[in-house]
């Protein structure tokens, strides 16, 4: 086996040193009746070339070479080449969690820079080293708000990513945290009257997403005012990190739960991604997850360590703020490098291109179909309502190697034949025009079929 660095002679010598006759002797503690006396029924040992072939084959069965209009919590942005060059360095890739600070300064300093940039972008004062993803970050942020606020209820926007809502429901069930939902308005934003009514004396926090699941930017100021007036905290989930380049961050939030996948992390069929929680300094001791802090060594030199560990499971056990241990460090490094590459000016320009592509696409779709929620500003997603079931349109688009927008009926039956479309800096005008063309064709054929029916009826 090519990963095993021992010759038969080495093994012999080692067994002799131990004083064992055979390796089986070392497994004597396992009662014989449970020992597996056969080969595992799994694929036989394969050569590297066979493994590569296997996965290339799977790749061809997996929309290789398609253009996609999918977003909905997982975004296709360009990944600068140097991200993979740098994260492939073994000293980053094959290092453990940096508990031994003296030989982990590389990882620790890079997390410190990550925390700093997340703070700058979100307008918060502290950020942690990462969470599993945006959905669990949102659920953990809500639990954090419950600990801080002392009340137990949560009001969640229906325009929060539906799968994030499902994850929150799972986490909340056994914490005795009642969850209620506030719907959305004609403009796609949260219905403020419903929100006001939903917040009661037991509401610990309100959880919204902005830009929300429909791509609409919420009026965070107004929502924060309503929540705070009633003694509830505001947790804002951000699923599309690139929006922070051009959309004002929710500075009035008490906690921000982010998905940073957009910053240089491959789509990877849904993971691994990079959740982050950011908040105010005064709340830091209730924050879950690892934190890196600056300090000095015995000679007074600057250095970095994992800090405030008394919040964490390995110290506090059942009294910890969360059970989280392994997080997403290497993915956070991708995010860190991405933020460094684009920086202060590039992130803004990048976000602006997303805005322009989306404005163009929404405008074109509006000529032929109905674009919902146009009363409020949006970032890079929009909802198109069609006469025909979007699944049918999408299956024709697949013939052009285009993956159309996400049909919403599964999550929002009330929206009927609607689909969520996303454009990023990678979406070409020609792909937009092709997709718009097929939607227009669908509308025309539905219309003429309807006319035919009416003709016959007359």
């Amino acid at each position: 086996m090519r990963y095993l660095p021992k010759s038969p002679a080495d093994r012999e010598a080692m067994l002799k040193a131990i004083g064992a006759r055979s390796v089986d002797e070392l497994f004597a503690p396992i009662p014989p009746e449970y020992r597996l006396e056969r080969d595992l029924t799994i694929p036989r040992q394969m050569a590297e070339s066979e493994i590569v072939d296997f996965f290339r084959q799977r790749s061809r069965e997996n929309a290789e070479g398609y253009t996609s209009f999918l977003g909905a919590g997982a975004y296709s942005h360009y990944r600068p080449v140097i991200i993979d060059s740098l994260i492939s360095r073994g000293e980053f890739l094959t290092a453990y969690t940096p508990y031994q600070a003296e030989i982990s300064q590389g990882t620790l300093q890079s997390i410190f820079e990550f925390q700093t940039m997340i703070c700058e972008l979100t307008g918060m004062e502290v950020a942690n080293a990462s969470m599993y993803d945006g959905s669990t970050a949102a659920a953990e942020a809500v639990m954090m708000a419950v600990r801080l606020n002392g009340r137990r209820g949560v009001v969640v926007a229906r325009s929060l990513h539906p799968e994030y809502r499902e994850v929150l429901a799972t986490y909340a069930t056994h914490q005795g945290m009642p969850v209620s939902v506030a719907g959305f308005d004609q403009d796609g934003r949260i219905n403020l009257q419903e929100l006001e009514k939903a917040i009661g004396p037991e509401t610990a926090c309100v959880l919204i997403q902005s830009p929300n699941f429909f791509g609409t930017i919420e009026d965070v100021n107004a929502i924060a005012a309503i929540a705070h007036q009633r003694g509830a905290m505001l947790v804002v989930s951000i699923a599309e990190a690139v929006s922070l380049g051009i959309v004002e961050p929710p500075r009035e939030a008490d906690i921000i739960a982010m998905e940073a996948q957009s910053f240089g992390v491959p789509l990877g069929f849904g993971g691994p991604y990079c959740g982050v929680i950011a908040t105010r300094e005064k709340f830091v001791r209730q924050m879950p997850g690892r934190l890196v802090g600056q300090t000095v060594d015995k000679q007074g030199r600057r250095g970095f360590v994992l800090t405030l560990a008394t919040r964490e499971q390995h110290i506090r056990r059942e009294k910890a703020t969360s059970n989280i241990c392994t997080n997403q460090a290497l993915v956070a490094l991708m995010v860190n490098i991405f933020m460094t590459v684009y920086g202060k000016v590039g992130l803004k320009e990048l976000a602006k291109q997303n805005l322009a592509k989306t404005a163009y696409a929404a405008g074109q779709f509006a000529k032929h179909g109905k674009v919902l929620f146009s009363g409020a500003p949006r970032f890079n997603e929009f909802v198109v309502a069609t006469s025909e079931d979007p699944h049918a349109i999408n299956s024709r688009l697949l013939g052009h190697k285009i993956v159309g927008g996400l049909p919403l009926k599964k999550f929002y039956p009330e929206l009927g034949n609607a689909a969520l479309w996303c454009c990023t800096e990678l979406t070409t005008r020609s792909a937009i025009d092709t997709a718009v063309g097929l939607v227009a064709e669908s509308e025309r054929s539905v219309r003429s079929a309807k006319e035919e029916v009416e003709e016959v009826a007359r």
Binding site: P31, L267, Q313
Partner: protein
């Protein structure tokens, strides 16, 4: 003293400030293509939601970024540099073909919501890995959704709760041995179960008498690591399972130490009802400085209705699909389907090994641990003499007489060119030195490690101060953690 160190030599190492300290206006590492659609006035589109300024975000060039992170990387220890004997962490070789196949286009760029018709490749990977892990654990079904080990524990306990609930009583508490990982009790709390400690016997195993006394209809499950954190196989495992099952409880196995078992024995065959695996330990996906992980949960048939949704299913024509219609499911524990990129790597690892390779891997892991145990017996105190599987736990009892504790020895090990072992864990061994070499170490590296440990033990006798002041050869000496926690500085700030 220095000439005792054979594995490492000091060399010039680059200094590097924070990236923000290199920033100046007008430098850039990015270039966007020209827009092929009309430009927009963002102020007009966004109104008051438009962001004007990105604060202290850096402005640097590409070469500076390359040098910045490359320099930082050289300040890290890594498996690629040498042995990483962290007990319970299974720091094994991370094969590079795993990284290559995870980056093949359709795999790296697949969108989680693309139609199933054009996702069969990804679904096939999930199915194949699931089948392999079910066979390896001897269980009946699996979910790959949890993002890490602790997340798997939570998922598992959610299923335990749902199972008991379906029988009319969710029960109140989880039994956890005093040798357990900290995540176990923290997880029980997240699922709103009380934690009851279970003590270990003189062999370092579950005290069967105590278990019998504590087991009753309020206990939902026992969370057991096997081999436990002492590296000891729980020989009475089936008796443990029987005691639990007799009172309707479930046996949860923390699979952190599965590297001692793969291909040799299957938890499903010795009475385990459910368990999580750590793909980033046993199945070679890289730790990456603290993640990403992946924590699949394998279960017995009785728990299948409660699996998180969606569940992978095959249609009549053989195509794969996600089944969302799972009325008894515990729900979702994560958006999408889990850390898919880690599934790809774990499957590539299993394929590279095959059944013979996996068995040999386990044998070598156990061989290495026992070789170290033999090499250091008598030099360091061995609090439990029960046979070791894949890791061995010593204590600092002998060295403590000279005022040198496990952490000091660990820090001195850094000067010798090794990453420290795990210190101060498990909690049942005061001053623990918990050593897990994994199968990835050649005999030469193990011999160097044994020599280094012996040499440090000699230093403790001759010159304890050298050990107490270690490390001596790193960029920074021991850091002031108390100050870091008392007045936290968690971000860089521009000089005002």
């Amino acid at each position: 003293m220095k000439d005792r160190i054979r594995k490492a030599t000091r060399q010039v190492n680059q200094n590097e400030g924070l990236i923000f300290e290199k920033s100046s206006a007008g430098k850039a590492a990015w270039k966007l293509p020209p827009l092929d659609v009309p430009d927009v006035d963002s102020g007009k589109l966004l109104g008051s939601a438009e962001r004007k300024d990105l604060g202290a975000m850096p402005e640097v060039s590409e070469i500076e970024i390359i040098r910045h992170f490359t320099r930082l990387s050289t300040w890290n220890y890594a498996i690629d540099l040498g042995m990483y004997p962290l007990g319970s962490c299974t720091m094994k070789y991370n094969p590079r073909v795993n990284e290559a196949v995870a980056r093949v286009e359709g795999i790296a760029n697949g969108h989680p919501y693309q139609p199933e018709k054009v996702s069969q490749g990804a679904l096939r990977i999930i199915q194949t890995l699931s089948e392999c892990l079910i066979e390896i654990t001897g269980m009946d079904a699996i979910t790959l959704q949890p993002a890490a080990g602790a997340h798997g524990e939570m998922t598992g306990l959610l299923m335990v709760r749902a199972y008991h609930q379906s029988k009319g009583n969710a029960r109140k508490k989880i039994l956890i041995p005093d040798s357990a990982h900290g995540t176990n009790p923290a997880t029980a709390a997240m699922v709103n179960y009380a934690v009851e400690n279970l003590k270990s016997d003189a062999r370092g195993m579950v005290d069967i008498g105590a278990l019998e006394a504590q087991m009753n209809e309020d206990v939902a499950a026992l969370m057991l690591t096997n081999p436990n954190t002492l590296g000891v196989f729980e020989q009475d495992i089936h008796k443990i399972a029987d005691i639990l099952h007799a009172k309707g409880g479930l046996l949860y196995m923390d699979g952190a130490n599965m590297n001692a078992l793969v291909g040799k024995v299957r938890p499903g065959d010795f009475g385990v009802d459910l368990m999580h695996l750590n793909l980033h330990k046993t199945f070679s996906t890289p730790h990456g400085g603290g993640g990403p992980g992946s924590g699949p949960v394998a279960i017995r048939k009785i728990l299948e209705p409660f699996l998180p949704k969606p569940v992978l299913a095959a249609k009549a024509d053989g195509t794969l699909t996600f089944d969302y219609d799972r009325p008894q499911s515990v729900g979702r524990v994560r958006a999408f389907y889990g850390n898919f990129g880690m599934f790809v790597r774990a499957l590539a690892y299993i394929q590279a090994n095959g059944p013979d390779g996996l068995r040999q891997t386990t044998e070598d892991a156990v061989l290495n641990a026992n070789y170290i145990r033999k090499g250091l017996e008598g030099v360091f105190d061995l609090p439990y003499t029960t046979p070791s599987m894949h890791e061995v736990v010593f204590s600092d009892k002998t060295q403590a007489k000279k005022g040198v504790r496990t952490m000091d020895i660990a820090k001195r090990l850094i000067d010798y060119g090794f990453h420290p072992y795990t210190t101060a864990f498990p909690l049942i061994v005061p001053g623990a030195l918990m050593i897990e070499p994994t199968e990835s170490e050649p005999k030469e590296e193990l011999d160097l490690f044994i020599d280094a440990m012996k040499s440090i033990a000699a230093e403790v006798e001759e010159d304890p101060q050298t050990v107490l002041d270690a490390p001596h050869s790193t960029r920074v000496s021991r850091l002031d953690e108390t100050a870091a926690a008392r007045k936290p500085v968690l971000r860089w700030k521009p000089a005002s």
